[in-house]
Amino acid sequence: MTEGPELVGGEPEIREQPPWLERVAPRDVDWRSLALIPSLAVLSALVVGAIFIVFTEGFDAILPAYRALFTGAFVGWSSISETLLVATPLILAGLAVALGFRAGLFNIGAEGQMTIGGLVAVIAGFSFEGLPAILHIPVALLAGFLGGALWGFIPGLLRAKTGAHEVITTIMLNFIAFRTLDYVLKLPGIQAEGRFDPISQPVLPTARLPRILGWLPVDGAGGLRLHVGLLVALAMAWAVHWLLFKTTWGFEFRAVGANPHAAKYGGMSVVVAIVLVMTLSGALAGMAGGNETLGVLGRASPGFTAAIGFDAIALALLGRSHPGGVVLSAILFGALRAGGRTMQVQSEVGIDLIVIIQALIIIFIAAPELVRAIYRVRGGKETGQLTRGWST
């Protein structure tokens, strides 16, 4: 280990970086790390994004593109409804990834867990005819929860028992989930009547998540799409916060994440913690899937997860793996997506730019020194690394 100088008596030692958790799931968040650095990161990402626009469409394309981005996200009830609508599954998936990070686990499988969860939710959604909405909705959401939980349990168990790193297993399970969806959506009984492409039967009206802004007067077809899922997501954010910081379970998860040896010494079961965290994480992602199929789409078709699971990784990092931060970041990413759609329609710039901007945001967040170096902001305490290599 590094041998820094030690002081005799009670004065602080200089030792090597505080353990790895600090970078991604820090305990103390000062205003610099919570507000300033992320804001600068977003700003820098937009600037670099502008460079890409120049390169592909020319200098003149920047302003219309970013204007469309902004109005599409924030201007008018319709935009706000869309932003929050898109943010809802991002909150849930982001919580899933953040919960994992707090326990030292990389859940790259939110996309697959969403897929399976959404699929099971849809099946529960079009079965159970005659069930009143007050029962059908919770049942369907629960189905999504359980579907995702299963898809999180598998890599959790593999990691806990065999040491198989969850980065690889969850990514593999993502691919497996997509193919499973393709297959299931063509099965009789699940496939929509009269269709030959993979698409599910529509969810019964009693299982659809009710809209909450329908009372607002707005022109355009159908009314505002924002639904109850947002409230469910916010409730889950509160629940995750309570779990992590006010319960014994949360203490164990955080301890296992920070130092599994000490956790074991303290009597905690590292195996149980890993399995539980991955399962709960998968369950949250599964709820995100259920949210999409029950609230927005009304059915399941291939690709319905729309890379939300991958965005969730970025926004968990941006939100420092803190439920509050996750909610704020999800709203930001929701704004980028909703605005991005408008940008794609109204300007020459395609929506893939948003992916680049998001990747840049993560880079700048993960390397705050980089942002500091660019803007000459004075240093804080983010340090450390998470990785323990390939096995426990």
Binding site: E3, P5, P19, F251, K264
Partner: protein
């Protein structure tokens, strides 16, 4: 060759590690550098070796200033370092470790001439009587042999000044004698030697003269002929030090811990603990002496539930806990001060409150069901910090902000403050300052007098001799001797530690 450190000063944020240090070493002499943990010895040597850069002062070789940008420069200048923690790549063999960085090559692609390397290793090995097998894989070798490899490394690079940093911590008293023979041989061959240790007796035996470092400053020089251990201790710490622990004779009562025929495998599936049996009674301190690596670590881990034994049994107060978890042991009022405090005993990124309930959070009063009562935990923490004199401005700071001594006191506070039937402390005072050592020794004796059964495992013979009512010696996974504390001597124990009793 004449090496001089002149006015060397090195600062880190918040502390002056070296303060205007002057030190001179010439060929053919052994200079001892004495200081307690944290005095600045390693920092000074790291400056000498090019790993740090001094803020002020200079390093002179034969009168000319030398600037080292890195260890490469220091090596080229003829300075060799045998580190406290060996710098050997475990999966490489001896030859590869010796030549790393100065490999003999052939051809344009840098093909290593391994035969030439091997021959040269053999040559040095026989010339200085450092027996090693050039093809052995390092991780399979015992610690004493690994040390010889470090010395060969230094000689391979033709060092003129050799620094030994705490070289005897892994040796039995007999091996120390052999080692001193090697060191004297190097001195006769004309090498200049800097010998760093905190062990007073050894210093007096090997050094020609002794420089004492305290809080970064050289506070004086001593000559072995005239100075005593007490003198040295006082110079090291700045006040008279009681080298003996004050304790009344033990009054052991019923058996608390009973270990029978225990067999424990290590990571490489050898029997680290090979058929060990012993008992510890309430009101006595049993000390297990032995050089690190003879199975003590695995023994403690097996007893405390961190690993599972292969065979045998462990009972506490009659209950069989052979396969029990650390949680169960905690419920049975067993306290464990672990060997590696940073890895096992603390979560460095948690604050002091969280660390102080690390093993007791699961029950009342710190939690009810699944819900934590952090208020109660904070109260408990404030109380313990006061009681055990843990020096920190706040309980909300992370454990990483504490010094080594205070971290150990934190662990001791957590473990001793509750009702305990059995205390197991492994290397309880490793790497901490004298003040904390004294404090922890006192608390251990207090717990014993309160009726606890205490098991101490330590590779510091002085600690065992000071604390133990009964001494067991562990060698190659077996208990090879049992001696009452009052009759134990370093010489006898040393023989057992080297396997003489087998």
């Amino acid at each position: 060759m004449r090496l001089e450190l002149k006015n060397v000063t090195k600062r880190f944020p918040g502390v002056v590690a070296n303060d205007s240090v002057d030190l001179t070493v010439s060929s053919g002499e052994i200079v001892g550098l004495l200081g307690e943990n944290g005095a600045g010895k390693t920092t000074l040597m790291n400056i000498l070796y090019g790993l740090y850069e001094a803020d002020e002062g200079e390093v002179l070789i034969d009168g000319k200033q030398a600037k080292f940008a890195g260890p490469g420069d220091a090596i080229a200048a003829g300075i060799g370092m045998v580190h406290q923690h060996f710098m050997l790549v475990p999966v490489f063999d001896v030859t590869e470790n010796v030549v790393l960085g100065v490999e003999p090559t052939r051809g344009p692609f840098g093909h290593i001439d391994i035969d030439e390397a091997r021959d040269e290793v053999r040559e040095i090995s026989s010339k200085y009587r450092l027996a090693v097998d050039p093809d052995a894989i390092v991780e399979d070798l015992p610690v004493g042999v690994q040390q010889r490899i470090e010395i060969i490394k230094v000689l391979f690079r033709e060092a003129e000044i050799i620094v030994f940093d705490e070289p005897t911590s892994v040796l039995t008293p007999q091996e120390v004698e052999d080692f001193f023979g090697i060191v004297r041989g190097l001195k006769e061959a004309g090498k200049g030697i800097i010998f760093i240790t905190h062990k007073l007796g050894e210093m007096l035996e090997i050094a020609d003269r002794i420089a004492v470092l305290r809080r970064g400053k050289i506070v004086g020089e001593a000559k072995p002929g005239t100075a005593t251990k007490e003198d040295l201790a006082e110079m090291m710490v700045g006040r008279p030090v009681d080298l003996v622990v004050d304790k009344a004779p033990a009054q052991p009562k019923e058996v608390v811990l009973s270990v029978k025929d225990l067999v424990v495998q290590d990571e490489r599936l050898h029997n680290a603990v090979n058929d060990v049996s012993f008992e510890v009674r309430s009101g006595e301190i049993v000390g297990i002496a032995g050089v690190q690596g003879n199975g003590q670590t695995e023994l403690v881990e097996a007893i405390t539930g961190l690993i599972l034994p292969l065979a045998g049994s462990v009972t506490i107060g009659g209950e069989d806990i052979t396969l029990a978890s650390p949680r169960r042991l905690h419920q049975l009022e067993v306290a464990h001060v672990p060997e590696d405090r940073q890895r096992d005993g603390l979560v460095l990124s948690f604050d002091l409150v969280e660390n102080l309930v690390l093993d007791s959070y699961y029950a009342k009063p710190y939690s009810r069901g699944i819900v934590m009562d952090w208020g109660e935990a904070r109260r408990h923490a404030d109380e313990l910090i006061q009681q055990y004199d843990i020096r920190t401005p706040s309980a909300q700071l992370t454990a990483s902000s504490l010094s080594g001594g205070n971290q150990q006191k934190l662990i001791v506070a957590r473990e001793f403050a509750r009702d305990t039937k059995l205390i197991i402390a492994s290397q309880p005072t490793r790497g901490i300052d004298v003040g904390s050592i004294e404090y922890i020794h006192q608390r251990i004796v207090e717990e014993r007098d309160d009726g606890a059964a205490v098991l101490i495992v330590s590779s510091e013979l002085d600690e065992i001799l000071a604390l133990a009512d009964r001494v067991l010696v562990m060698y190659r996974g077996k208990i090879v001797a049992e001696v009452p504390g009052s009759e134990a001597t370093a010489a006898d124990l040393g023989l057992f530690m080297a396997g003489a009793g087998v």
